[in-house]
Amino acid sequence: AQSVSQHNHHVILSEAASLELGCNYSYGGTVNLFWYVQYPGQHLQLLLKYFSGDPLVKGIKGFEAEFIKSKFSFNLRKPSVQWSDTAEYFCAVNPHRGAGSYQLTFGKGTKLSVIP
């Protein structure tokens, strides 16, 4: 079965520091890739997604992610974090397995704490 690995369980940064959260997946075929964010007490919401085309995708709130097919990776980046970015971040993968295959496999999540 495919798996999604997020390398860091908890990341602590000071405001204005740069952020990179790692995500690797094990499926060898075509995939759709997502980063979701869960702010404290809020719904899980989409940060960004990759389906095809330019492997560098931009999302909301200044986040971006780069799909590197050869490394099976989809790392999330932000050049300068803010206290309001404190949240839990989930990487998710949808392997293409034919019509109707829309299941997402999620990583275990990375908690980001930003210190003012």
Binding site: H9, N32, L44, K49, A99, G100, Q103, L104, F106
Partner: protein, 113 residues
């Protein structure tokens, strides 16, 4: 905006009770999903449905069943609740037969005592 609502934010049930968690979406989405979220384990798929009356098992279906009688509503049923089913349950929906994101509800925190 897509809206996915769940019937309760918090629920406390006793071991052995039958529990129903309800989810409703208002965007005519064909696909609906139930996940459980546990600290350090991320989200794990319990069941999903790609059409009315259709259901597929996810990664952890044991101890759960689902019902989808109407397109907008997807119910998760715990036939006999156990303490290891204490968790946060998230419902999601997704449009049709093309790549797109899933939209999540606020979650139901279920405690089984």
């Amino acid at each position: 905006d897509v809206k996915v609502t769940q019937s309760s934010r918090y629920l406390v049930k006793r071991t052995g009770e039958k529990v129903f968690l309800e989810c409703v979406q208002d965007m005519d989405h064909e696909n609906m999903f139930w996940y459980r979220q546990d600290p350090g384990l991320g989200l794990r798929l319990i069941y999903f449905s790609y059409d009315v009356k259709m259901k597929e098992k996810g990664d952890i279906p044991e101890g759960y069943s689902v019902s989808r009688e109407k397109k907008e509503r997807f119910s998760l049923i715990l036939e006999s609740a156990s303490t290891n089913q204490t968790s946060m349950y998230l419902c999601a929906s997704k449009v049709g037969r093309r790549p797109s994101e899933q939209y999540f509800g606020p979650g139901t925190r279920l405690t089984v005592t």
